[in-house]
Symmetry: D4
Subunit: 220 residues, 8 copies
């Protein structure tokens, strides 16, 4: 059975390292990729690695990676020191936390620090308004929300930085699975909001990295 | 060809007069219903009567009804005097006005006055916050919004009165036709929001009438 | 890991206490919220707490809350005495009972009593007609129905009080999951029917509370 | 350009004559089919022939066919005498009439008479209950309804004869186009209801013809 | 907790006995209904009773009912003698058998016998053509098919009797869950085909019973 | 305003010439492309050129191209002589003819002849069976059908050659726009059927060209 | 009738000026907004102003605004000088040009220049590869594509800058209206791609402005 | 209970042997079919036989069939010798491998060899371009991809052979279940791409067999 063809050159080509999406891969396949990364001397980020699959990895693999259960991510390779804070990650509710944490770990893997603003959904508007000045101090904002995703529009109307909406699959009834939050973000009346796939904390972080590395248009 | 079977007794049965939905009816059918109402000595509300169809009515009919182009409604029968103000009607944008106006005319037909708060969508949050105390002074609130419908959640989180969400078909891209606003309202994280069909200003007003007539639970 | 940010002020702001939605929360997170509520001296309603998760709570928590398996709700805090009856809760079938019970418990938590009319779907129309006069005696009506939701239209055509439709996920084939019941309620030919999200007994009760507290328009 | 291949033998094979669906056909193609039918000495039913296309037919064709604008049907061939009444056709609203009329003309073309019960939707339940005994006297019932289609469930719960539901495209908001009425019919809690395509009055009549010709199971 | 409100009069009203849909009911609720039926001296049909739930019934209940695993039905009450054959039940594939068997048992419960034609899908057309004359000898035909449901159109084009299509949830890829078979049946080019809900063998049988009892229009 | 970037090398690269899709292009843009093709000495196929847009082309362009109204195609360049017949094009109904004709013209443009089998849908199965031996004599078969697309499954079960299904937008009710025919083709129980986009006669022909040029596996 | 409530302070608050969406507004309403902007001494961008509505504006308005038919935009206020080039705008086909042009004009209104790369879709991959080095020289990339949107994934895999995908409504068959291109962008396997609503060239440009103004994370 | 009606003549009729789809069949039913095939002296291909169901087969059956876990297929009958290579099977990612393997085994069962090109998705375009010349050497290409399916368009633009797209259910967020990959393939801008159902590796292989056996049009 053929193994994975890793795109190790991606980081040289576009500045973003390839990561491993664990869902749908067997523990054996993950182990092989970890081995290959070690052989190549590469650092590695593994996402969507749930606790059960982590536990099913051989001990050798579990020893060399740093696993985080909330974000379901594992990192192979030396941690980086104190990270410069550049991003704010904002969630509407507590249930959006795993997606936010995935974004946070992905940023950390690439050397970017983030501040987490949790449970500031708009049904209790003061929770957001109380913290909006603090959020404004970051160069890029990732917002994670499920349900009806009203947070996206309110937030993007209040701050000037790039806002990346990550709809989450948190919801019930018609809002089950994140479709409503996604379409709210896309159909938002707020200007210049951008959107990634449902639950895609990893992708939001990668977009933030692209943005943070793009030179500023100083003259504008 | 058979004519309409009017439910004249509805007002006695449930307190809400039957109205005529003009869409899909010919000018002749509308004329017959107007005649029948005059014969019965009944007042009559006609909705979704666009300007073209109004113009195609025989002059006799045009004379006896009071037509309003924005709300596309016509009323047969003596106007009522100054109306006691009981409802607030709030819109996210200018384009939601026809739906709001349909609600306003329906309330007026049943003797209830309303205050209109237009163009207070949440992308410019101050527009809503500036007027929220004024909105709070009404016993029931009808909110009309299209696009992503974020107004519904913010509004219902700020006021204690019943809030009736009317999603409108104002939108573009994925939000075309009002589906996203509808599902945002249904999936809202705000407590106790109720919803009617897309563009259904008439239905929202009828729901408001039911609410205004329900006796208050004084002891609660 | 950050904890929940409770909106304890909600009850002061809009008259409705915040509740805890247990689905997607760990027993530990629920326990923390219960502890916080006790520290604040607040009463608390927990919804969607299935029997398994309830059993997984520490005994200390299980002792202080009053759990009801049918409605999957738990209440922290002293029960209120005999409740004044203000609402009717009507279900089309036996399978809609959990949703109706959630509404009932939510009302009870806020001091409102309700009468339950169970299994009066319109396929056997006499079951509804036999009890319609009794239903009419309530100030607000919550109707829970799945399948094709025909109950909503028939009911709203027969009574003058506000009718809140709660579509349920009870259904099969094309009607699986409650979509058809929801759209039947929204597209109903009956006047002034309002709708909440699928299976949202809690939201229906909160809407009823808003309505019961709105002052009556005596002059109408 | 090739012409139509008529299935003239259908009436011998399954007892139902082929009909011509005019939508999407040019006046020339319709004319050719009329000519061919005359050459073969066949009677012919044309459906979905709107007034404009009828007017565009050559006068020779217009002379030999009997056109009805409400049902948008035309019939070639000698009319049959007084028809024995076997079917009831029931509509929820006035707007469902064209579909009902298409069913009526299709039945008439095959020698079956029908009684029309118009505008008996369930929002005003007495309109249906007043006439239910009369409806019960027919051997098969065709029901045409749009919006939320609640009529289907109530009707099928009240009568023993076969009930054929024809959802119509009459509706607004979420119920636009007939989808909700269709799914209400399919998901109905009433026993033994059968369904045809949206607006398919022709198909409902053909199903009724199959039923009327099936021998009765006298011993059941 | 309230129990079920059985519609025992249904059989007198419309000739079809109420049945119990076991899905979503607890073994206790089913047991109560069986007891009630015995107390009333009524026969009873239970559908969608899977093997596990059957096994969970108290032995007393299991003793008095006749359970069939393929159709997932149970019957309470004396069996009827040899049944007169009136219906053909046709399936496209082996996987459609449970739905066909549910129809067969429902007919048998009401005293009607059926012949089963299994695995005659149109991909191997000869399998159907070989048996078509035999199928034609029945007064009503129930056809069960999943996937793309092409069987419905071919069958209805070949026989004169009423054809009731039951789309089944047998399918894969885009055809998962029966939607495609359902819409194929509704959109069929074959004349006079009628349709029931996905997997609704019970409903198809009830429709067949309505048809078999409708008097034939001898003069047509 | 920038002009089109023609991929003239496509024919050298993959053996299929680029064609011009006229929908959404102005007459001026089409004229420019025709001019460019003449300058390059290239033959050119234009598709979806409706009669109105053709009439709006400058006379110079209309003179040099060969226009066909049924298929809505135009060809620039010398016609090829008598074409070797390699493909069968089969349609379920007369309304599928424009799609079939687009396929026929696309094949002819590349030097392949086709036989047209029109109006052989399965509701009158004999129409297809009468001609099946003739269809079998072709090396590749393109089938165009709308409605429920049952033709695809029956056809693919009867012949050994490659069968390319082109669902057409011919349909009504749930089958409007071709979705049902498309999903029937994809979900077909017949083995080895392949599918192209709705109404894509051009694409079906291009697929046929790929197939006809692939060397036969003589040893299989 | 109430007029628009302009959010003139938006530019001070979040750095993006409010724009006027002309669709759904009458010429009179647009005229009033233009007048108000002139009174306030504000520059103004009007989008989705089609040629017909532009022609219906009073001459006074037409004189003061600079109208562009391709992008359907109008600008009130003095043009800015030569713009520094910061963005690349890439289109898959000629039909995506109006959306690309809307983005270009929106950027220009805020003082940012863009280079247009038109008609470089991936079906002829060399068209894109030939120009990729040139595209790489820009600090942010906007990509407009309809159909299946494969351009987005290929592009984002080749360049390091932020890539904003604008799905367009250019498509046919299943891809009609832009849904497929949108979901391709959201579901892309390429890392860090962000997405805006269908046809939302204006929103893509506003997102680009947010990005260009965010300070670069020099240390990353 | 009736058994399966095998279409053993299919291979004589259209050159493709019938296969057994194991999903939804019990181990007993599979065993019966294996026995019948042995009695008839037929070779047999079983698909979608997951490891658990394979393990549940009686040992006698497990002994006579050759099972492959990756493709979930089993083959009864003598293997064929070295297979002539005629097809290329290309996958976008490692997770598409089971579908590719099903195609490979189906081809092998009919005596056709294939080369597997795994993990060459377009996010790292060089992985595909490096191997494109090798892929071009095959007479037919099967491409398996999930997510956004961009591979299909790029591939079909680069090679002249027939390309059969198999969308896979590999995806997340909006791309869950394979719908986006399917619609990308159908809506592709690349010429002459054909498509089969989601995850239908078996069908793709059968289509390839039809193509490989069709005689080449040498004169084209």
């Amino acid at each position: 059975m053929p193994g994975a063809v890793m795109d190790w050159q991606r980081v040289e080509r576009i500045g973003l390292p390839e990561a491993v999406y664990a869902e749908g891969k067997t523990p054996q396949q993950i182990q092989q990729i970890v081995d290959a990364a070690q052989d190549e001397g590469r650092r590695l980020l593994i996402t969507r690695l749930d606790a059960e699959k982590y536990a099913a990895l051989p001990e050798a693999a579990r020893t060399v990676i740093d696993y985080d259960a909330t974000s379901r991510t594992a990192i192979l390779g030396a941690p980086q020191g104190a990270l410069p804070i550049a991003a704010a990650i904002v969630t509407a509710g507590l249930a959006d936390l795993p997606v936010a944490a995935e974004a946070e770990r992905t940023l950390a893997f690439s050397g970017v620090g983030a501040t987490l603003f949790c449970d500031v959904g708009v049904a209790g508007l003061w929770r957001l308004l109380d913290r909006i000045d603090e959020i404004r101090r970051h160069r890029v904002v990732i917002a994670a929300a499920g349900m009806e995703g009203a947070l996206f529009s309110v937030l993007a109307g209040l701050i000037a930085a790039p806002v990346i909406a990550v709809p989450t699959s948190v919801g019930r009834g018609v809002a089950t699975g994140g479709r409503v939050a996604l379409e709210s973000a896309l159909g938002s009346c707020a200007p210049g909001l951008v959107v990634v796939n449902i639950d895609n904390g990893f992708g939001a972080a990668q977009a933030a990295l692209r943005i943070l590395r793009a030179p500023r248009a100083a003259e504008l």
